[in-house]
């Protein structure tokens, strides 16, 4: 999903739209959020980006959640796209950049067994990737092993296989998508210390920052978290409590380029890296690359590594260039990417389904 913001001067802007609470099923609430933002924005000068951000954030009185923030973030991206095009500059140049012309990316690995994951890791290494991320608990839709020690053994077997396959000098990270309990996460983190992981992402559920800080303190792998957080107030607390070595705001859910720039500053003051969340389409990748072009403290960017495959490659006019493990920051005006709207017809919207993760007794663990 995307938003497109039209103007009376022929310039338009686009933004990638995260599914928000519609990460499972139909993101109806996000679509409604876009309508609300549209009601406010139509008739306004698109170049007053910060002003509109503040209005969209505050006009609901009761603060919106992930859905409204995803809409605000997407619209914000589109307004920056317009501002860049109006000025004839890539967005990172409006923001004082470039600080870099490329950014190291970590590619996603897939594999249901340690052997399959190791094989995928090797092929990604051959493509030039210098950092790789994987889910270390087996088939993603099958849940997690049924015992405490089984979880630890499973993770160790995947991490060991991938590390042995790629050798010592690639950065490796794991993501358990908030599926572990604090004791499980701590045991896993301690057990995988010898493999030198770059980060351990979303070890536990995202809602309780105190407990995230406890997990960060009680195991040795640096924590990356924040893809489900969306305000500067949440990131302030996360940072003050030292719950993350890397923060992962999403350019759509976390309030767009405007809000991510502020979060980056909060992180810079804490010596924390910002690793923007980037699970959507090449439009989000382009927006993230503009942020990477303007922000000092970006160590690495997420990259799904499937952008050259249909449908992602078919729906945009160009893909960010991958070169030897790095993505190049686009130099064209605005975000530096356009949708191919004719091609969209060939890919009708489909529901996103996310399987529940069940405990051994049939009760719900998490999605």
């Amino acid at each position: 999903m995307w938003v497109k913001v039209h103007t009376d001067e022929g310039i338009s802007g686009i933004g990638d739209l995260h599914g928000g609470s519609g990460g499972v099923g139909d993101p109806a609430a996000v679509r409604a959020g876009v309508e609300m933002c549209g009601d406010y924005l139509v008739g306004k000068d698109p170049l007053q980006v910060e002003n509109h951000w503040q209005h969209m954030f505050r006009m609901c009185l009761f603060r919106g959640g992930a859905d409204l923030m995803a809409a605000i973030g997407s619209v914000d991206m589109a307004l920056w796209d317009i501002a860049g095009k109006a000025a004839g500059l890539p967005v990172h140049r409006l923001l004082g950049g470039p600080v870099r012309d490329r950014v190291k990316v970590y590619g996603h690995l897939v594999g249901d067994s340690p052997e399959a994951m190791a094989e995928n890791a090797l092929s990604m290494k051959e493509k030039g990737f210098k950092a790789l991320r994987f889910y270390p608990l087996g088939p993603f839709s099958e849940g997690v092993p049924d015992s405490y020690t089984g979880i630890v053994r499973r993770v160790v077997s995947f991490v060991e296989a991938v590390r042995e396959a790629v050798g010592p000098d690639l950065d490796l990270m794991i993501d358990v998508v908030c599926r572990l309990t604090p004791p499980e996460a701590i045991a896993v983190g301690r057990a995988i210390e010898p493999y030198g992981l770059f980060f351990f992402e979303d070890p536990i559920e995202p809602d309780n920052i105190d407990v995230m800080a406890m997990v960060a303190e009680r195991q040795p792998v640096p924590i990356a978290t924040g893809e489900r957080l969306y305000t500067i107030y949440q990131f302030r607390e996360l940072l003050n409590k030292k719950a993350a070595a890397y923060i992962r705001p999403d350019p759509s859910v976390s309030g767009g380029i405007t809000n991510l720039k502020k979060m980056a500053a909060q992180a810079e003051a804490q010596y924390v890296g910002i690793v923007p969340h980037n699970p959507c389409t090449p439009v989000m990748t382009a927006a993230n690359l503009q942020i990477c072009g303007a922000v000092h403290n970006v160590p690495v960017l997420e990259y799904t590594a499937n952008e050259h495959r249909s449908p992602k490659c078919d729906v945009v006019n160009r893909l960010p260039e991958f070169r030897d493990g790095f993505l190049m920051v686009p130099k064209g005006p605005g975000l530096g990417i356009e949708l191919d709207e004719k091609a969209l017809k060939r890919f009708p919207p489909e529901r996103h389904s996310r399987a529940p993760v069940m405990a051994g007794d049939g009760s719900l663990r998490d999605y």
């Binding site: 170049l47 002003n51 004839g88 470039p98 600080v99 003050n240 502020k262 810079e268």
Partner: protein, 381 residues
Amino acid sequence: MKITKVETLRASRFTWVKVHTDEGLHGIGEAHPASGTSGWPKAVYGGIEYCADYVVGKNPLEVEKHWQHMFRRQLFRGGSDIMSAMSAIDQALWDIAGKAAGLSVSRMLGGPVRDRVKVYVHINGETPEALADDARRRADEGYKALRFYPLASLRQGMPDSYQGIVRTAVAFTKAVREAAGPDIDIMIDVVNRLSPPEAIAIGRALEEFGLYFFEDPIEPDNIEAMADVARAMPVPVATGERMYTLYQFRELLARKGAAYIRPDPALAGGISQIKKIAGLAEADYVGVVPHNPLSPVSTAVCAQLCAAIHNVPVQEYTGTEHEPQKRDLVNDVLEVEDGFLKIPDRPGIGIDLNIEAFKHHPPVPYERPIAYHPDGSLREY
């Protein structure tokens, strides 16, 4: 585009940089005197030379990159002097970037959120009556916020007793409140001259006058003590004009040492860093009130920041910009109308120096008054 030269320009009590490029564009920025706030700011001049060694030959448009290099290249972090030099160059680079894009700096940063900003003007007087007269004059001119030093004469030192200090502050504040009426915001600044017990006693005694803020109650170095003072008295604390890193402001905010922070664009890392500091303050519901005691160039830079930042409640304004030692030195000054500073929408920072006039205003050293204890020992500059 390449930077060809960084000039240090001086006139009156001000220091600026002018950054030249090979494409004819130039940018200007103002440097704070920093450690040279008493005497000549020689260390700032040295800092400018040091930063110039780095930036000459570079592309001026890569502002954030150069900020990071200038901040990090000395290994041992620079203090206020290097930060002042960096700040001036950062302002000049944003000025160039704006001119190159044909945009005001605020527009590059996602603004404007406002096209004018309320200012608080400085009022002066060494007796309660004289200060009240100045308050009435400024209120009649349309100003909606007034700031004063409530301890009699800035130059002649302080009352000699704990109770004398409190009585003096009450007398001055009462006079200003009565002259200004109930609906004008009034704020005091004791320029870091009080001890924590004195500051707390004053803050509690002044509660009934509804001060908007109490600025720099105690010395600036100990943030924990500043937070103690903020907790122990009811007037909101404004502080930060002597701080210059993101890290200092982070600690000030995390410890709740201020309701308003006062980063100076000519000291606290320029436009690049003040935007970051503002983001930190926004997350703590703290207002950014840019420090602005220098020339009209500083005012122009503050105005661009005010147009780009949501959480600016009010802007400092000396009220002296039409005086020759300021007005002559620039091509234009920003105007105040009905208590609000009008923010220009011109490329860059929207102001330039009038170097022709510098010969009429030769450089002069700063003279900072010194506050002594009654036994002759030093209190604070």
